[in-house]
Structures are given as C-alpha cells and as structure tokens.
C-alpha cells in the first residue's frame, strides 16, 4: 500500500473525487497553479484544467458565496480557506446560507459542498494561524463538522464529505500534516511513513461521517478527543501508565454518541481534550452529553483539558498548548 503524509492523502482524495465526478471543482487562495500554501492541491490544475481547479481572489466570503451558488447549480465545490483563522468573513455565508438552504427551500435547493481549512496550532503561527474554531460550526444546524487525525481517515473522510449531500466543514490539523505530533515539541516527530495510519489504500474508499474510532483500548478512563490531541493523549497514557481508552471522534457533528457512551460506561471516568479555548468549547457539549447519558457510571467529575481562554499566543505557544504533561496531570486527578 502507498505511504502518504496527510497532505498527500488529502490531495489523493481530491484527485480521486475529481476523477470520478466532473462536478467536483476545487478553488481557493493560491490553490490553482501553485497548489496551495500547504501543497494539498498541487498538480490538480495541471491534471484537470483551470476550470476545475483555480485561484480565487482573497475573499473568503466570495469563495464560500460563489461555492454555494455552484452547489445550488449542481456542482460539488470543495473549497479551501487557507487557514481556519481566515474563515470569519465567510461566516454569514456558511451559517445563514449554506447551512440552511435545504431547510428553507424545502429541498428545492441544496448545498453539497466542502470547506477545507487547516486548523490548530503548534507551528508558531500566532493568533491568526493557530485557532481551532470547530465549536463555531458545531453550534450551527445544517452543517457537518469533520476533523481527521491521520492520512487514512483524512482521505476516506474527505471523499465521504465530498460525496455527502450537505455542507461539510473539514478541519485539517495542520500540525499533523507531516506526522503524528504528540505535543513533545522539543523532540523530532515520527513521519507518517513510519506510522501504520500512513499506509493509505490507493483509489476510492470512504470513512463514513458520524463514526468515531477507538485509537487505544483501555479500562481505566476514557479520553474523548480529536485531531492533534489524539497523539497527545496517546503520549499521556504512555507516560502516566494509565490504561486510558482514547476515542478519536473524527466527526464532531453528527456525533457518534454510541461509541462515547459505551466507553464511559465501561471505564467510569472521562477526560475531554481539545486545543480550542475552554469556555463554550466543544468539550462542554461532550461533558454535558456524558453526564446526561453516563451519570450513574461516573466515578469522578469529568475533566476538561483545553487551550486557555486567551488568544493563541506566539512566544508562549507551549504554555498555551494542552500538551501531554497537562493532560497527564488531569488524568491522574480523575483517577484519584
């Protein structure tokens, strides 16, 4: 099986989708000739031509707004917002338009589109290249929100998202593009070529939306997480020796509640982890659901380990980032 980085897996998903369906068009800032600042669309314009993969003006509103019109026409646009931090000018188009078009027109018009955006920090990107805005989208009726943590899922989930009949926000943890970063920023990262999930099946396959994956089976406590934090959680389990069950949610909306509740009912303890800020973060939704559905199984309060409620800093990146040490401490507390 071919070995791929997450970037190559995403590019392969786009390539496979564009090859199978002429309606799939890809555009965004620097996406065409150059192939994207993270290279996720490299070679697609050369292969499929300028009308299938092209550069857009620097207007996220325009990129998403035109994509909505294209989706209503019957195309399947898969657009790139260069950083998730740049998505806000398009927020009205996403929230008031893409998400509600099917509902408000009673199905006369639909919006099958994907908005890809690199998310999260760990690259010294400062407050405008590091944010994790997933909760701003999970709060919106009509959207689906996906965040893969590895090349195999990235390809399968992206193909599934493109084939989905509704709009999908596709968040790509940019710190994972080249390897499974576990939060130990002072150590070299294992490349995807040395990781089992870097072995990506060629051709077409999908990973269904709305299904979580158990990354590590365990009996002591459940860690609910997604994206970069999956590997931080693996490191914390290794380093604390706590037999954690680590659940990679993969899709945040719709959420795989069955996998979550089955695990917490088994372990009786739960830690919720994300890189985004704490207050009103997606972890709050997870904690609420776990207490509602697993209250009588819980042996300890649910803990949340997240970024602090500050803008994402530059020099203090590693004080902000919820790394394995902070997570390990929270896991120990939940075990007490």
């Amino acid at each position: 099986m071919p070995r791929m980085t997450m970037i190559e897996a995403i590019r392969d998903a786009l390539d496979v989708s564009m090859g199978r369906d002429e309606g799939v068009v890809v555009f965004g800032e620097d996406v065409g000739y150059f192939g994207g600042v993270f290279r996720c669309t490299a070679g697609l314009q050369q292969k499929y031509g300028r009308t299938r993969c092209f550069d857009a003006p620097i207007s996220e509103l325009g990129i998403v707004g035109t994509a909505i019109g294209m989706a209503a026409y019957g195309l399947k646009p898969c657009v790139e917002v260069q950083f998730a931090d740049y998505v806000y000018p398009a927020y009205d188009q996403i929230v008031s338009e893409a998400a509600r078009l099917r509902y408000r027109s009673n199905g006369q018009f639909t919006c099958p589109m994907v908005i890809r955006m690199p998310t999260g920090g760990g690259i010294f990107g400062g407050q405008t290249h590091s944010q994790s805005p997933e909760a701003l989208f999970t709060h919106v009726s009509g959207l689906k929100v996906v965040e893969p943590s590895n090349p195999v899922d990235a390809k399968g989930l992206l193909i599934a998202a493109i084939e989905d009949p509704d709009p999908v926000i596709f968040l790509e943890p940019k710190r994972l593009y080249n390897g499974p970063f576990d939060g130990h920023h002072d150590q070299p990262v294992t490349p995807w070529s040395k990781h089992a999930l870097g072995e990506v099946e060629a051709g077409h396959y999908t990973v269904p939306l709305g299904k979580a994956a158990v990354r590590r089976e365990g009996s002591a406590l459940t860690v609910l997480t997604y994206g970069t934090m999956v590997y931080v959680a693996e490191a914390a389990a290794r380093e604390t020796g706590i037999d954690a069950e680590i659940i990679d949610l993969r899709t945040l909306l719709p959420l795989d509640l069955d996998t979550i509740t089955a695990s917490v009912r088994k372990t009786g303890r739960c830690v919720v982890v994300h890189e985004a800020t704490l207050t009103s973060g997606f972890g709050a939704e997870l904690a609420a659901l776990v207490q509602q559905h697993c209250f009588y199984n819980l042996e300890a309060p649910i803990a949340r380990v997240t970024g602090w409620d500050t803008p994402y800093p530059h020099a203090q990146e590693w004080d902000y980032f919820p790394g394995p040490v902070r997570l390990g401490e929270a896991m120990r507390e939940v075990m007490e």
Binding site: V25, T51, R52, A56, P57, S59, L61, G62, G65, T66, A67, I68, G69, M70, A72, Y73, G74, L75, P89, D92, Q93, S96, E97, L101, R102, Y103, R104, S105, N106, G107, Q108, F109, T110, S141, G142, K144, P165, D166, G210, L253, P254, L255, L257
Partner: protein, 410 residues
C-alpha cells in the same frame, strides 16, 4: 499645523425630512430616448457614460422613443401591464391580510412593479434569479401560481416551504427563483457562483443577482463584483435603487460616488442606469444585459432608478422619516400609469378596458386568496406539522435530531 482647524466628521443627510417640501431637484432626468444603445460587445471602457445617465424609453406624452424602444409588441406590453396590475392587487390584498392578522409580515412593491415584471420577460427557461424580498414580479410574470405565494405568506398546511420561512421569502427552482434568504446581500455573490457553474459546465443558462441600494454596502456586493469581473461570469447584477433602505436615505450607502452603477466601473463591468418606472426601458436594458451574459461577454451591472412608494415592510411607518407627499413628487412617475398611457396612446388600450381589467384581476386575486385560506392562515386552520420542523435540516436526519424529535413528542 497649529493654524489647522480640528477634524470634523461628515454625516450625510437627505435634502428633506418629514414636514419639509419634497425635493428631487438633485435627480437629473435625461430626456426619454436620449441615451445611446451600444452593441452588446462594445468595449466596456466606451460605455462609462451609461453609469451616470438614465436610459428611458417612455416620454411624458406616453410615446416610446429612442434606440431602446421597439422591442415589444402591443400584446406583450399588455401582458406586462397586467402583470404589474396583478402584483399591485396582490400586494393590496396581502397587506390587508397582514393587518387582519392572517400573517405576521408583508412587504409590498408599490412603485417598483416594472423592475421585476419587465426583467422576467428578458430571461429564458432555465435561467436563475437570486432575488431580494421585493421582486415578486419575477414570480407573477413567470407564471408561478398566486395561490402558492399566498400559502407561503400564510404559512399554512399547503405552504410549499412547510412554514419554515418568513412570509414572502418564496422559493421556486422550477420558476427560476432562488430561495430568498432574508439576510441582505448574500444572494448577490451566490448568483455569480451559479453563473460560474453554468460556464464551467459549458451550459447556456445565465443568472441574475438582485440587491437593494442600501445593501450594496455589504461586503457580499463587492465580493460579487470581484468574482464576476475576474471570471467574466454570465450574470446580470441588478441594483434596485428605490431611494430608501428602511429609514436610511440612499446617500448613506452610496457615499461619495455619483451613482450606484458607477461602482461597477472600477471592476471593468459595463454598468447602466435605467428608469426603473419605465417597463419598456427596464425590459430593453435587461435584454441587452442578458444577451451579453448569454454570449459569454461577461457580467453587466444595472441600476434601476425607482422609488419605494410604500413602507419598507408592515413593520415601519415612512411618515416618521420622509415627507408624506414625497412619492407624489417622484419625477419618474408611476410604472402602471405610464405603461397604461402608452398603450392608450398607441391605440391598444382604453380607460374603460383598464377599469374592467382591474376588476377582473381583483377577482382572480380574491379567488386565489379564498383558495389559499381554505388551507389555513398563520393563526387559524391547517398549519405545517411540528414534525416538518425537524425534517429537511439534512438529507438524512442525524441521531441527535431524531432524539430531539422524539423528545418533542412527534
């Protein structure tokens, strides 16, 4: 710098307010027939003057004059007159229905009927409008059943949109009428995307975007012009300048630019101003712009100069922000009356036939209303089910919505 006076902020004000004498002396009205009709493939640079004049066909005597005249037969004009009369009668009935509590909200077209009714006749089947809330003439002139419009307004059991949308936020794909958002300006850039899709697929369909003078201040407007210009999208971008954005006069959105049409010039988009109360002029300019789009010559920006005679909606009272008699002073007159006079002038119509047609149209509207009210109004009779509220958020209902629907007991 010590001798410089301090800065002061300029906040524009309309020339007149309630109690003042209406004054439109600043609206320069060129003579009907005086503006050239260039070929559709003319160099956009050569068309710049069209953004500052007003294309007019009907003169004060009711004659159709100049290079933009002569595109429609008497029968077609008569049909257009009836569409406008129907829209006006429809509005009057629905405005009253709102006052009677049969629905929550309504927005009428008084004075602006020509814009959407005439534009619709320049399109072909398969073309798509991305309208605002004041283009119901696109539906009336496009043959959409009035009873379906009323069912939507009443949010009753036969509402094609299942009670999910505010009244008059219609949607009909079949009639080339994109779902109205209610958020301002968003549809303008979507129209460009739809048009780009048609070009990507090498189809022949074109799109028309619609926006009001006030909403041109939204970023969506500027994004639409950038994308339309860059990709030469087959789209007609329509600005309906009816002088008022609720209580805000058009100068607040327009700023220092001479006209709204002039906004297009910086994008290299041919930009025309047209007498929005002149059915023939609206239709002729629409035809011109639609042909440009169809021939892959790219986008056209059109500013319709008109006047909103009524309130913005049933939720505001214009006498609180503009002179009561301002609409009487509007120099471009009434679109229905002007077309009626033209048809009489050419011997195709008479006052008697007009009065008779008014009565017939009113009967048709009342019959549709009776039919719609059999299916209920907002607060009485049949209504969409609570189950409908949970349907259609996604193609397939996800588990969390199924649980909530169950919780709601439906």
């Amino acid at each position: 710098m010590a001798d410089q006076p301090p800065l002061s902020l300029y906040v524009p004000e309309p020339a007149v307010r309630p109690g003042d004498t209406p004054d439109f002396s600043n609206v320069i009205i060129p003579k009907a027939g005086s503006v050239d009709r260039p070929p559709v493939d003319a160099d956009p640079e050569s068309l710049r003057d069209l953004a500052f004049s007003i294309i007019r066909v009907l003169n004060r005597k009711g004659e159709a004059v100049g290079p933009w005249a002569g595109l429609l037969t008497a029968d077609e004009l008569l049909e257009g007159l009836k569409h406008m009369m129907t829209l006006r009668a429809f509005d009057a009935r629905m405005q009253t229905a709102q006052r009677q509590g049969k629905t929550s909200f309504y927005m009428q077209h008084m004075g602006e009927e020509a814009v959407s009714c005439a534009f619709r006749k320049a399109l072909e089947p398969g073309d798509m409008n991305f309208p605002t809330y004041r283009q119901a003439g696109l539906l009336i002139a496009g043959g959409y059943p009035m009873v379906d419009m009323m069912n939507q307004i009443y949010s009753n059991e036969a509402d094609p949109l299942k009670g999910r949308q505010l009244p008059i936020m219609y949607s009909s794909k079949e009639h080339g009428f994109f779902s109205i958002s209610g958020n301002l300006g968003t549809q303008f850039v979507q129209a460009v995307g739809w048009a780009m899709a048609s070009a990507i697929k090498n189809d022949t369909r074109i799109a028309a975007g619609w926006i009001g003078d006030g909403s041109t201040a939204e970023s969506d407007f500027h994004a639409a012009l950038v994308f339309a210009s860059t990709y030469r999208a087959p789209v007609v971008l329509n600005i309906v300048n009816n002088q008022w954005a609720i209580s805000t006069f058009q100068g607040i959105a327009r700023g220092g630019a001479g006209t709204f049409a002039a906004r297009g010039l910086g994008f290299g988009i041919p930009s025309l101003r047209v007498d929005g109360n002149d059915y023939l002029a609206v239709h002729a300019v629409a035809k011109w712009a639609v042909e440009r789009a169809r021939r892959n010559l790219g986008p056209t920006l059109v500013e319709y100069v008109t006047y909103r005679v009524g309130a913005h909606s049933t939720s505001d009272d214009p006498s609180a922000y503009r002179p009561k008699a301002e609409s009487d002073a509007w120099p471009l007159g009434d679109p229905v009356l002007r077309l009626k006079n033209h048809l009489i002038k050419i011997g195709a119509w008479s006052d008697e036939r007009h009065t008779q047609a008014e009565a017939e149209i009113l009967d048709t509207v009342i019959a549709a209303q009776k039919e719609a009210e059999k299916h209920g109004t907002l607060h009485t009779g049949g209504k969409p089910s609570t189950r409908d509220m949970f349907e259609g958020v996604y193609e397939e209902m996800p588990p969390h919505l199924r649980r909530q629907r169950q919780q709601a007991g439906v």
